[in-house]
Each structure stands twice: as structure tokens, then as C-alpha cells.
């Protein structure tokens, strides 16, 4: 006996369905530590409205989030917190590094600030800017949607294949010995490379 489908019938791939629903409901975890967080709020508010892209539900519990948006500089003491929140998020999950500070340390090249969160957690999308405009964040969400739609799988096997660390390696030496000391009245020692 042949099955007679009615008009509410669709044949597709499970991966496609999973990607379709995941890409259009990327709930952010707002890990906002600095001024980028203000732009993140602006992106979520009515003028820019990332709800148009399915990202309107900012969840302050990591267990209900899909994408962690690290907005702002991260200090050393914050790294274990950030890693714990990242590990608490359920798969599949993605990470957006928003702004110059989260991506590279920005102007805060000091003893206390992490020079790029990608040394400590995996990052999928980097957003440049100091701080980035909300349009840039929306662009990053759209890029992430494209990425999810292009590479996503039902059971997240695209993550399992990435066994190697995909982060930049830690710098072997942060400063040369001649740059290591700076003294008052002699402050050009720190920038002598520039003065040559």
C-alpha cells in the first residue's frame, strides 16, 4: 500500500533542519566587561535589534546560551571565570570575540590584561573595533549564521574533528631584555625601537 502524503510534507536532511533552527536562534551569553558591552546593549536594543536575526534572548545563565559574546578586556583574574562559563555552555556553542581588547588586548598591554582571549578559549568570529559599532556585531552574527549553515551537523561532529588547538600560540618572550626596564626620566627606553 503506497503512502499518500498530504500537502504538509517535506523531505530534507536532518543536518539542514538542525542548522536552520540553530542559525536562526543564536542566543547570546553577554560576557560584557567593558565599553564593548554598551555597544552590545545597543545592538540588542530597538534601534539595531539583533532580534531580527534570532539573537534577542540574552541569557544570563550559560546553560541556555548558544554563542558567548566576549565584549571588552579580560583581566587575568577573569580568565578562570570565562573558561568556566564557556565550559558550562551546552553544545553546540560558538564564541564571538568582540572588540580589539578581547581579540588582542587592545591598548591594555599591561601585566594584568589577557592579550587575546583566543589563547584560553576557542573563538569563532573576531569583531574589530574599539568598540565595534552594532552593525559590526550584527555582521558577525550573520557571518556566524552562514558558518553554522555551511558547516553545522546534527550532532556537532564538526567540532569533534578539531582535536588540535586552533588558537594562536602563546608568545615565547613578551619583551626583549633591553625593553624590560623603564625608569622615570628615562622613559624612552621602553620605546627605543621607535626612536631609531
Amino acid at each position: 500500500m503506497a503512502i499518500k502524503p498530504n500537502e504538509n510534507f517535506l523531505i530534507t536532511k536532518l543536518d539542514w533542519v538542525a542548522n536552520y533552527v540553530r542559525a536562526n536562534s543564536l542566543w547570546p551569553m553577554p560576557f560584557a566587561t567593558a565599553c564593548c558591552g554598551i555597544e552590545l546593549m545597543a545592538a540588542a536594543s530597538s534601534r539595531y535589534d539583533i532580534a531580527r536575526f534570532g539573537s534577542e534572548a540574552m541569557r544570563f545563565s550559560p546553560r541556555q546560551c548558544d554563542v558567548m559574546i566576549v565584549a571588552g578586556r579580560v583581566v587575568m583574574k577573569m580568565v578562570p571565570v570565562m573558561q568556566r562559563i564557556w565550559l558550562q555552555m551546552p553544545e553546540p556553542k560558538w564564541c564571538i570575540s568582540m572588540g580589539a581588547c578581547a581579540s588582542s588586548g587592545g591598548v591594555f598591554d599591561t601585566y594584568a590584561v589577557v592579550q587575546g582571549i583566543d589563547r584560553f578559549i576557542p573563538v569563532d568570529i573576531y569583531v574589530p573595533g574599539c568598540p565595534p559599532r552594532p552593525e559590526q556585531l550584527i555582521r558577525s552574527i550573520m557571518d556566524l549564521q552562514d558558518r553554522v549553515k555551511a558547516t553545522g551537523t546534527m550532532f556537532g561532529s564538526e567540532f569533534k574533528e578539531r582535536t588540535a588547538s586552533d588558537r594562536p600560540r602563546a608568545l615565547g618572550l613578551e619583551v626583549t631584555p633591553s625593553e624590560q626596564m623603564v625608569s622615570p626620566g628615562d622613559y624612552q627606553t621602553s620605546t627605543q625601537e621607535w626612536n631609531r
Partner: protein, 167 residues
């Protein structure tokens, strides 16, 4: 603000050569040897009514022109009745810069001395709980010392890194 009554009382107690004073704009500064710093602070609190310790901070004078000592520890005192303010300063040196804690006089010295210890490594003797307040516990050096490199001694790389396959 006329500091003469306060200073004359100090001179009676510690002698005219027990401390030196200097002036910068409207700041009057008292420089005293580290052996006398606690007695002087106690005298200022009990006899001259400096009931508030507004700030404790420090300066590293390494490579500073004409500096004789390395660390300056600075107490900013306020008399909340008269509004009189004084800056009291003392100097300590390596290898073990040690200052008596002002915690028995002002409870507010607790965290401020911890911050000075955290940033400069100046030990406050008699402090009830002298441990780091800003930097992580495992941090091994004192970042506001002038011989600390501008970009750190790689403490920033000591955290574990989580790759995608492990998260």
C-alpha cells in the same frame, strides 16, 4: 590651612630634628624615619585629631634622580572636624621593605596596606591579614615596582588553555 599647632605639638614630642617638613602648593608633607612612623601617626591621631586615614600608597624611587631610598610609603591623613590634611611619608629599602602597620590606629588601613603590599611588596608588620588584594593569588611579583617590565613577566600565560575539542 594653618598646620602650625599640629606641627608645634609634633616638635614638642619628637624634637625639631625628629622629622622634616616640606611644602608643595597647599600640601604639607612630613617626612619621618621608619622607626618613628608608628609613634608619629599615633600622636597625630590621638593629640591632633586626625581621625581618618584617607589613603596609604607607595612610590618606587628606583632610578629616580637624587633619590636616596627606594620605596616611599605615604599616609594621607584627614582631621574630619577641622578639615586639616597632612601627608606623612617614610622611606624603606630592599631587601625587606618593612613598615609597621597602621591597622591598630585606623581600621581602614587594612585593605590599603594590602594593596601597597600587592603592588610594591612592602610588608606591613602587624597587619592582621597581609595577602594580595588585586592580583591573583599565584602572582609571583610586584607589578608597580620600577624594575617590573612594562608588559609583564609572562604571568599571563600560566592559565590552562581550552581548545575546541575539550569544550
Amino acid at each position: 590651612m594653618n598646620h602650625e599647632p599640629t606641627l608645634s605639638k609634633l616638635r614638642d614630642k619628637f624634637g625639631a630634628d625628629g622629622f622634616t617638613t616640606s611644602q608643595f602648593r597647599d600640601n604639607t608633607r612630613i617626612v619621618v624615619a621608619v622607626e618613628k612612623i608608628f609613634d608619629l601617626l599615633q600622636h597625630l591621631k590621638d593629640q591632633s585629631g586626625f581621625d581618618m586615614l584617607a589613603d596609604v600608597t607607595a612610590v618606587d624611587y628606583l632610578h629616580y634622580p637624587n633619590a636616596a631610598d627606594r620605596y616611599g610609603v605615604i599616609y594621607c591623613l584627614t582631621n574630619t572636624t577641622t578639615g586639616e590634611r597632612l601627608v606623612v611619608k617614610t622611606f624603606v629599602n630592599d631587601p625587606e621593605p618593612t613598615v609597621p602597620s597602621a591597622f591598630p590606629l585606623w581600621k581602614g588601613a587594612d585593605w590599603m596596606e594590602r594593596e601597597v603590599y600587592d603592588m610594591f611588596g612592602v610588608v606591613f608588620e602587624g597587619h592582621p591579614d597581609l595577602r594580595r588584594i588585586l592580583m591573583p593569588e599565584g602572582f609571583a611579583s610586584f607589578p608597580l615596582r620600577k624594575d617590573y617590565p612594562l608588559r609583564g613577566r609572562m604571568e599571563r600565560h600560566n592559565f590552562p588553555s581550552i581548545p575546541r575539542s575539550e569544550s
